[in-house]
């Protein structure tokens, strides 16, 4: 378990290091994820311990957002002052994004399937 955790932290650290030294506006952990995939592709397999730690973290991913969500109270005043614009923008834009993304995905997949047959 500790080996798997160390590997996760090391990938993140490497990601952060690259992002910082190259001054990129890009999150280090996302680059770390890419490094993890590259590493797994190179080795050709995952280990049971890595599977277990990764799946355990991802099954409880909701937990990790709780501290940030509690921070909503800090901006309550600013949100209350602009509640109509903010709630309209958030609700409509989120629904629109979900719809556009899923329709584009399905339409492209169907087009691709037709080309192959």
């Amino acid at each position: 378990m500790i080996q798997a955790l160390t590997l996760l932290f090391a990938c993140q650290l490497a990601g952060e290091l690259v992002v910082r030294t190259m001054a990129l506006a890009f999150p280090g952990p996302v680059l770390g994820m890419a490094l993890m995939v590259a590493g797994l592709a190179w080795v050709g397999r995952t280990s049971p311990a890595l599977d277990q730690v990764a799946d355990g973290l991802l099954r409880n991913l909701s937990l990790l957002f709780v501290p940030a969500a509690v921070g909503v109270v800090q901006q309550a005043g600013l949100i209350a002052q602009n509640w109509l614009a903010i709630s309209a923008a958030l609700v409509v834009s989120t629904v629109a994004t979900l719809l556009v993304t899923v329709f584009t995905f399905r339409a492209t997949a169907r087009l691709q399937a037709r080309h192959r047959t």
């Binding site: 709780v66 989120t94 993304t101 997949a109």
Partner: protein, 240 residues
Amino acid sequence: MIEEAPLYRAWVYLAETPLLWLTATLAAYVVADAISARLSRHPLANPVVIASALLIGLIAVTGTPYRTYFEGAQFVHFLLGPATVALGVPLWRNRANVAANLLPMCAALIAGSLTAIGSAVAIAYAFGAPAPIVASLATKSTTAPIAMAISETLGGIPALTAVLVVLTGILGSVLVTPLMNALGVTDFAARGFAAGTASHGIGTARAFQVSEEAGTFAGIAMGLNGALTATLFLLLPQLN
């Protein structure tokens, strides 16, 4: 008063250590997750919403500043980084499925990312929101570190953006299941990808509740949307 003194002293001590709010965060999540499981993972019984509502109530009642709360909760918050790296593991396990969907993913990413930014800005502007609020909303669908950095360069308020990112995540993770069911979309790769594009990590957390396939595609969408949004706004100043 003599009876209360030891308890009060214990409270004064505990309120200053990270242990109290770390334990409270974990306990609130255990309760929230149990409620969510009892209600068969109903989208409205979102564990992030339940747990944070419990904690917001608790810090309000005890008069605890958010800063003090976060000193304990930061240990949980810190794990977001390694968890993002961990998304690479299911991604690699599902690599055949991911490779087969490369083209739909690219098309959906571009369309979804532009819709997320464009519609949020247009609606906030139409409702007459002040410029810093509009700028703070632009990157609401992106993962928090990118969203906050871009918000600052656009003249937004990074702390407000962080909150708007969380609210968008919660909104998307509550809406995605009923919306996709109503549309009759049964492709969990497409559903997950939409959840990750519209509502980043919190949408991804919801997608993992539904299936590993949905979670994997949501994780990829979150990463790619972050990368695309950062690139778009990096190029923007050069166009002016």
